[in-house]
Amino acid sequence: MSLFRLEKRPAPSSLLSGLTPILAVLATMVAGGVMFAILGFQPLEAIRTIFWDPLFDPQFGPYSRPQLLVKAGPLILIAIGLALGFKAGIWNIGAEGQYIMGAVVGGGVGLAFYPSESPLIFPLMVFAGAFGGWVWASIPAVLKTTFGTNEILVSLMLVYVAENILASMASGILRNPDGQGFPGSRNLARDYPAASNPELIADTGMHWGVVAAFIAVILAYVLMTRHKMGFAIRLAGEAPRAARFAGVSPTRLILFCLGTAGALAGLAGLFEVTGPAGQITIDFNSGYGFTAIIVAFLGRLHPVGILFAGLLMALTYIGGELAQLMLGMPAAAIQLFQGMLLFFLLAMDVFANYRLRIGQPEVTS
């Protein structure tokens, strides 16, 4: 018998389950500080540059603050969709591919109408973007419901396929005809007003993608707390057998969760190429689809939690860029930092689900 043992709680502690993300962030700061020290940086200065300066530094703040929404928008939008599936035990880890396909399909539809000035162009592109992501996510969904194929591996494999399609499109049919042969599409944000996704309020970073992210948070909240589908999702994740007895159709659930996640990731991609990225290039995708997995867990798979988690993760991106610029910190350090955050979060979850007991178990009960 060991000195410590874990005793399962009858139900997860809601207090601790709310506290663990905060504890995980603090633990990551400590461990990250150690890592920064090993890399030869002043730990406190590094932490301040990442978490404080982007928001409050008089010199960088005005530039960095709008970036917070620009970066958080796609992360939140994608994570909201992923969380639906994760809650039901459906593992879509290919959001990066759905994000790319949303951008390619949505952007492609817009470029097909160049140089139209119709106000219908942008809404049409938004629809096409969501459709592209939906189709891409429906491939693993249909394969799972029809043949029982593992959705984790299929959705991930499709990321590599999507990256190759993107490369082919950016240097092929979507290439800018006036671009002197360089790969990459026309600049949608700058040279194609009807297809652009501009900043809606000056110097806030607010664009349609951010609006969509906020709407998604609200709708997901309503879905999870007030709608029968939300109940089915929670039941399927927590008690799969009970869900079957309650008449929850696994097929509908899989198609819904993967399809919605894909559509939201596709939207995020479309808003990105029409706004912040501006054009479809070989590497416009910057890994949001993977970081959103961390965001979903950090937000406890809860819509409001994801909102905050997305903002925090966006801060680490901006802070990381600032640390690169000011301290010469390698970009990978911040990626490592984000990975550590997920580890600490998962590790600390144990205390929400189990009680830590010291000494021998009691014989009674």
């Binding site: 874990l6 399962k8 590599y160 396929v161 930092f337 580890f343 590790a347 979850d349 189990y354």
Partner: protein, 305 residues
């Protein structure tokens, strides 16, 4: 198309398959113990960078391989602690391991971009390597190719014919029963996870030290995920892992050769073919039904339950 030489093609198939073979074999051991570690890609890329860095600094590829195995095993211990001691979800932790490994590797690898690998001598087996056709295909490889084949036999023997293998399989099939019989479920799983980590590390180092051979960020390019798919394809059997790995290696080599030969199919569509074939194979396997998955695969073990 005339420029594709079938003998060279098959010989390079063995080289292309070795990293996936090593990683898939290791992951099979892990899954046989009832643990699903989705961090193979992260452990491979870490092995690739550590193996390359140590190989370059020491001038010895062999030392690089040893370090890569140690690095893969060390990283897998993070996964083991979080999932086996702190009882976290294995899917999420494995994903985290991959994201972490990708970040760690690009951090370590920064100074090694564009550096030349130390080189790894081929083992020209006397007499056998002079046999026409078969000689160049089978007997002129580096030691790692042969080691990977020996490991297939070793893993098969250990799992199927020894007590250690029996205990490992018992833990994977039904951890509660294995615990009741007095086997140390968590300890067995730690050992299995470390083995898987070491083999993924070796596979990664083979990519950076032999196959490419240099350090490029993200160079494993999904090989770890393909290894995971091959374990499913192989229905958790060592010899089928060999078949699966060589099949995928073959497709990779063929598409690379077609690219080099200036095929009319665009490069991007050739590059995506290994991933599409992986999906196709997964579908075919699932139609047949996922036979052979260990009973406790991916489930959290807590002695109180």
């Amino acid at each position: 198309m005339d420029s594709i030489n079938p003998i060279l093609l098959i010989a390079s198939l063995m080289v292309a398959s070795t990293p996936i073979l090593l990683a898939a074999l290791g992951e099979m051991v892990v899954e046989k113990a009832g643990v699903l570690n989705l961090g193979v890609e992260g452990m491979m890329i870490t092995g690739a960078v550590v193996g390359f860095a140590i190989g370059v600094n020491s001038g010895s590829s062999a030392l690089g391989f040893v370090s890569a195995a140690l690095a893969g095993a060390a990283l897998s211990m993070v996964f083991a602690i979080i999932t086996q001691v702190l009882l976290a979800n294995q899917v999420a932790t494995g994903l985290g391991l991959t994201l972490f490994g990708l970040g760690l590797s690009s951090l370590i690898g920064k100074p090694y971009v564009g550096v030349k690998a130390p080189g790894f001598a081929k083992l020209d087996i006397p007499f056998l390597s002079d046999i026409p056709v078969l000689g160049p295909i089978l007997f002129r490889h580096d030691p790692m190719v042969y080691l990977s084949l020996i490991l297939v036999a070793v893993v098969w023997y250990l799992l199927a014919r020894t007590r250690v293998g029996l205990i490992l399989r018992a833990v994977g099939e039904n951890h509660a029963a294995a615990h009741a019989l007095g086997y140390k479920v968590v300890r067995v799983r730690f050992a299995a996870i470390a083995t898987g980590g070491a083999m993924a590390g070796l596979g990664g180092a083979y990519v950076s030290l032999v196959r490419v051979p240099q350090w490029v960020e993200g160079m494993t390019a999904g090989a770890g995920w393909i290894a995971l798919a091959i374990v499913v394809f192989a229905s958790w059997r060592p010899w089928r892992i060999l078949l699966g790995a060589y099949l995928f290696g073959g497709i990779t080599v063929l598409q690379l050769n077609l690219q080099a030969a200036g095929s009319s199919i665009p490069v991007e569509y050739l590059s995506m073919s290994p991933y599409l074939v992986t999906i196709l194979v997964l579908v075919i396997i699932s139609v047949r039904g996922n036979h052979g998955a260990p009973g406790s695969l991916g489930r959290v073990f807590h002695a109180s339950q």
